[in-house]
C-alpha cells in the first residue's frame, strides 16, 4: 500500500518542478508562435493590428523577388553545409577513434571552434576572405603574386564563403556526436572484420556507418536547425552582400520586422519558415523514434 501511494506523489512533485519550464514554453514559445501566425493574417506594418487581411501578406511575400532568392540561398547553403559538416565531422571522428596519442588534445581542438560565437566567427572569416587583408594577401606576400581568392566579393561564390566559415564552426560538433556513436560500436566487429581481411575504409563505410543511423540523424537535425536560424554569422560576415548574394530568410525577416516596419510581412515569412522546418524535421524525428522503438523491441 505504502509503495503504491508513493507513485502519484512523486509524479506530483516532478510535475510541479516542471511547471515553471512548462509555463515558459507555453507563453514564450507556443503563444508567441500563435501570435506570429495571427499577425501574418493582418495588415500590420509598424504596429501589430488585429484586423484580418486574408492571405495578402503571403501574396506579397511570394511575389517578393528577394524572398525567393533568400530561399534558394538557404537550400544552397543547407545542402553544402550539412553534407560538408557530416563528411568532415565523420573523418575527424574516425581519425580520433584510431586511438591516436593525445586524443583529448585533438578532440578539444576540433570542438573548440564550436565554442566561438557566430558573430566572432563571421568577423574573423570576413577578414580571412577579404582580398586586401586575408588569405589572398598572405599568398601574394609569400611570393605567389598571381594568387586570387576573392570569393567574398563575388556574386556567385560569396555564399560558399559562408559555408566554409560555418563548416569550420560546426564540424567539431558533428565529430563529437559521431565519436560518441563510434564508441558505441562493438569492437569485436573490427576484430572479426580484420580476420576476414576487410580494409579499414570498407569497415567504416559498410559496417560502422549503417549502425550510426540515429546518431547521424541527431547531427542532421542539429545542423538543419543551424541552417534555418543562420543569421548572426551572415550579418557579421557579409551583411547579406555583396548585393543580395548571401542574403538569407532570417535576415529578410529581421529587416522587415524592425528596419522596414513590416511586421505583417515578417510574420508571414516567419510562419512560412516554421512550416518549412516542420516539413524537413518531422520525417527525421519520426524515423528516429521508429529506430528507437525498433531497438528497444529487439
Amino acid at each position: 500500500m505504502k509503495n503504491q501511494r508513493k507513485g502519484p506523489k512523486t509524479a506530483w512533485s516532478a510535475h510541479s518542478a516542471l511547471l515553471p519550464m512548462g509555463l515558459v514554453v507555453l507563453i514564450a514559445y507556443v503563444a508567441s508562435i500563435l501570435w506570429t501566425v495571427r499577425i501574418s493574417f493582418s495588415s500590420s506594418k509598424m504596429l501589430p493590428k488585429s484586423d484580418w487581411a486574408g492571405l495578402s501578406q503571403y501574396v506579397r511575400l511570394f511575389t517578393n523577388e528577394r524572398w525567393t532568392i533568400d530561399m534558394v540561398h538557404m537550400v544552397q547553403f543547407g545542402v553544402f553545409f550539412i553534407a560538408g559538416a557530416l563528411i568532415l565531422g565523420f573523418l575527424l571522428a574516425v581519425f580520433v577513434d584510431q586511438k591516436v596519442r593525445l586524443e583529448g588534445v585533438f578532440r578539444t581542438i576540433y570542438l573548440y571552434s564550436y565554442a566561438i560565437s557566430f558573430v566572432a566567427c563571421g568577423v574573423v572569416w570576413q577578414w580571412m576572405f577579404n582580398p586586401t587583408l586575408g588569405i589572398q594577401r598572405s599568398l601574394q606576400s609569400w611570393g605567389w603574386e598571381s594568387a586570387r581568392f576573392d570569393w567574398i566579393a563575388s556574386q556567385d561564390m560569396a555564399i560558399y564563403c559562408v559555408v566554409i566559415a560555418l563548416l569550420w564552426h560546426s564540424a567539431g560538433l558533428v565529430m563529437a556526436i559521431l565519436l560518441a556513436g563510434l564508441r558505441g560500436v562493438d569492437e569485436e566487429l573490427w576484430k572479426a572484420a580484420r580476420i576476414e581481411g576487410v580494409p579499414r575504409w570498407r569497415y567504416y563505410t559498410s559496417i560502422v556507418l549503417p549502425q550510426l543511423g540515429a546518431t547521424v540523424s541527431t547531427a542532421v537535425v542539429l545542423l538543419a536547425i543551424s541552417v534555418v536560424k543562420l543569421y548572426d554569422a551572415v550579418v557579421a560576415m557579409t551583411n547579406g552582400g555583396p548585393g543580395d548574394a548571401t542574403d538569407v530568410p532570417s535576415k529578410f525577416i529581421m529587416d522587415n520586422l524592425f528596419e522596414r516596419q513590416n511586421i505583417g510581412l515578417a510574420s508571414a515569412a516567419s510562419t512560412t519558415m516554421l512550416i518549412t522546418v516542420l516539413i524537413i524535421i518531422a520525417p527525421l524525428m519520426y524515423a528516429r523514434s521508429r529506430s528507437k522503438t525498433a531497438a528497444s523491441h529487439s
Binding site: 507563453i27 514564450a28 514559445y29 503563444a31 508567441s32 501570435w35 506570429t36 506594418k45 509598424m46 504596429l47 501589430p48 506579397r60 523577388e65 528577394r66 570576413q126 577579404n130 582580398p131 586586401t132 587583408l133 576573392d150 567574398i152 566579393a153 556574386q155 560569396a158 534555418v228 536560424k229 543569421y231 560576415m237 557579409t238 551583411n239 547579406g240 552582400g241 555583396p242 548585393g243 543580395d244 548574394a245 532570417s250 525577416i253 529581421m254 529587416d255 522587415n256 520586422l257 524592425f258 528596419e259 522596414r260 516596419q261 513590416n262 510581412l265 515578417a266 516567419s270 519558415m273
Partner: protein, 410 residues
C-alpha cells in the same frame, strides 16, 4: 529567430500591464549614441537637462535599429520611455497615426518653430497641424570628402563641376591610387546612389523619384544616365569593398589611400579623431556650384503619450532644453552636425559646417533625405534594387524595371 521571440515576449509582458512609475522630472531617454564622439555630444543634452532641474536617466542602446525596436516594443506595450530617438524621417509616422505620441505644440509655439524651422524638417515633424517630434540636429548625408594629399599626388584640384569630378577620378586612378572609396554596406551603397541622383540627376529628378515615386522619371533617358554614372563610380573603387563599414572606408581617406568618398557629415569625426583639419588635410563639398542642393537629415526625440503628470512635465522640460540655443550649440559642436536653429552663433564651427549653415538657409537648396519622403518598407524595396544593381551585372534597363516595381510596392 531568437530575437523575434524575445521581442514578442517583451511586448507580451509589457501588455500585461507591468509598468514602472515615473518620478518627478525624471526623464528616461532611449537613444543610440554610443560611440566616443556621440556620447560626448549626448552628455551636453543630459547636462543641460540636469541643470534645468530635471534628472536624465540614460538608456543607450547600440545601433539605431535596435534602439528603435526597443522603443517601439515599449510604446506598443504601454510602458513607454519619456523620450526616444528616431531619425528625422517617416519612421515614427505610424505612431502618430495610432495616437501614441504626445504633441510638442506648446514648446513649438513659445519658441516660434513655425518661423524658423527649416522646411524639410518641419514637413516631417509636423503632421495634421501638430508638432510630434523634437529635432536635435541637422546632418547631411551626401557630402563629398576628399584627401588633399591624394589629389595633389594625381595633380588635380578640388573639382568645381561634375565634369571636373570625373576627370579627377580618372587622373587619380591613372596615378595608381584608389579614386573612389566606397563602403560595402547597403545603407552606404544607397547613400552613394542618392548622392549621384541628387547631384548629377538634379533636385527635380530626386524629388520626383523619392517624393512622388514617379514611374515616368524612372523610365526616362535622364534617369538611365544617372544609373550609368552610378555604376561607373564602381570602376574607381578598390578590391576591399565587400562588407566594409563606412568608417573603415573613411579611414582610407584619413590615411591618404583613396581620393573621394561621399558620406554624411558624421564622417568628419573620423578625420578630427586622427588630428586632421577641414580645409587643410581634407576637403569637403556638397555638390557643384553655389546652388548645389543640400540633403538634410538628422535626429529627433519623440515623446510617447502618457497620462502620468510628472512624465508630461518631464517631456515638456526636455523639449524646451533640447531646442534651447545653448544646448544646441554645445551638442552640435561635439556631434559634427549643425544646429536646428538659425539664430545661434556658427562662427566656432569648421568650414564644412559653416557651408552647411549657409546652404540650409536657402529653401531651394535644402532637400529632404529619402527617409523623410518614403515609408520604410518602400524605401527598403528600393534599397534592394540599388544594391542589386551596384553589385551585379544586370542591365540598366532591367534595373529601371525593378525600380518601377519597387516604387509601386506597398
Amino acid at each position: 529567430m531568437k530575437n523575434i521571440k524575445m521581442s514578442l515576449l517583451a511586448t507580451l509582458i509589457a501588455s500585461l500591464g507591468i509598468s514602472s512609475p515615473a518620478l518627478a522630472q525624471k526623464a528616461e531617454v532611449i537613444h543610440w549614441w554610443t560611440s566616443g564622439g556621440e556620447s560626448a555630444a549626448l552628455k551636453q543634452l543630459a547636462d543641460g537637462y540636469n541643470k534645468a532641474g530635471g534628472q536624465w536617466v540614460d538608456n543607450a542602446i547600440a545601433g539605431g535599429d535596435n534602439a528603435r525596436a526597443a522603443a517601439l516594443n515599449r510604446i506598443a506595450g504601454g510602458n513607454p520611455p519619456t523620450a526616444s530617438q528616431f531619425n528625422t524621417s517617416k519612421q515614427y509616422h505610424e505612431l502618430i497615426d495610432a495616437g501614441l505620441l504626445a504633441d510638442v505644440d506648446e514648446v513649438a509655439a513659445k519658441e516660434g518653430w513655425d518661423q524658423w524651422m527649416p522646411g524639410p524638417i518641419k514637413n516631417v515633424i509636423k503632421k495634421n497641424g501638430h508638432y510630434y517630434a523634437v529635432p536635435v540636429n541637422i546632418h547631411s548625408g551626401t557630402w563629398f570628402w576628399y584627401s588633399k594629399a591624394v589629389l595633389a599626388k594625381a595633380g588635380v584640384a578640388e573639382p568645381k563641376t561634375e565634369a571636373e569630378f570625373w576627370t579627377a577620378l580618372d587622373k587619380i586612378k591613372a596615378s595608381g591610387q584608389t579614386a573612389f572609396a566606397q563602403s560595402g554596406t547597403l545603407s552606404y551603397e544607397r547613400s552613394t546612389f542618392s548622392a549621384v541622383l541628387l547631384h548629377m540627376g538634379g533636385r527635380d529628378m530626386y524629388m520626383k523619384f523619392y517624393g512622388d515615386k514617379d514611374a515616368n522619371v524612372v523610365k526616362s533617358a535622364a534617369f538611365k544616365t544617372v544609373l550609368e554614372k552610378f555604376k561607373k563610380l564602381r570602376s574607381y573603387t578598390d578590391a576591399g569593398v565587400a562588407g566594409r563599414s563606412w568608417n573603415d572606408t573613411t579611414a582610407l581617406l584619413v590615411t591618404d589611400k583613396a581620393g573621394f568618398q561621399t558620406v554624411g557629415d558624421w564622417a568628419k569625426g573620423e578625420f578630427l579623431a586622427a588630428g586632421k583639419t577641414a580645409g587643410k588635410e581634407f576637403g569637403c563639398f556638397q555638390g557643384w556650384g553655389p546652388k548645389a542642393p543640400y540633403m538634410v537629415s538628422g535626429d529627433v526625440f519623440v515623446l510617447p503619450k502618457t497620462t502620468n503628470k510628472d512624465a508630461i512635465a518631464a517631456q515638456q522640460l526636455l523639449a524646451k532644453v533640447i531646442t534651447s540655443p545653448a544646448t544646441q550649440v554645445a551638442f552640435n559642436m561635439k556631434k559634427g552636425s549643425i544646429p536646428i536653429r538659425p539664430d545661434v552663433d556658427a562662427s566656432g564651427m569648421d568650414i564644412c559646417a559653416q557651408a552647411g549653415v549657409i546652404a540650409l538657409k536657402d529653401p531651394a537648396r535644402a532637400t529632404p533625405d529619402p527617409s523623410m519622403l518614403m515609408a520604410p518598407d518602400i524605401f527598403g524595396n528600393v534599397s534592394d534594387v540599388i544594391t542589386k544593381f551596384w553589385n551585379t551585372d544586370i542591365k540598366v534597363e532591367d534595373a529601371q524595371g525593378m525600380f518601377v516595381k519597387a516604387l509601386a510596392s506597398n
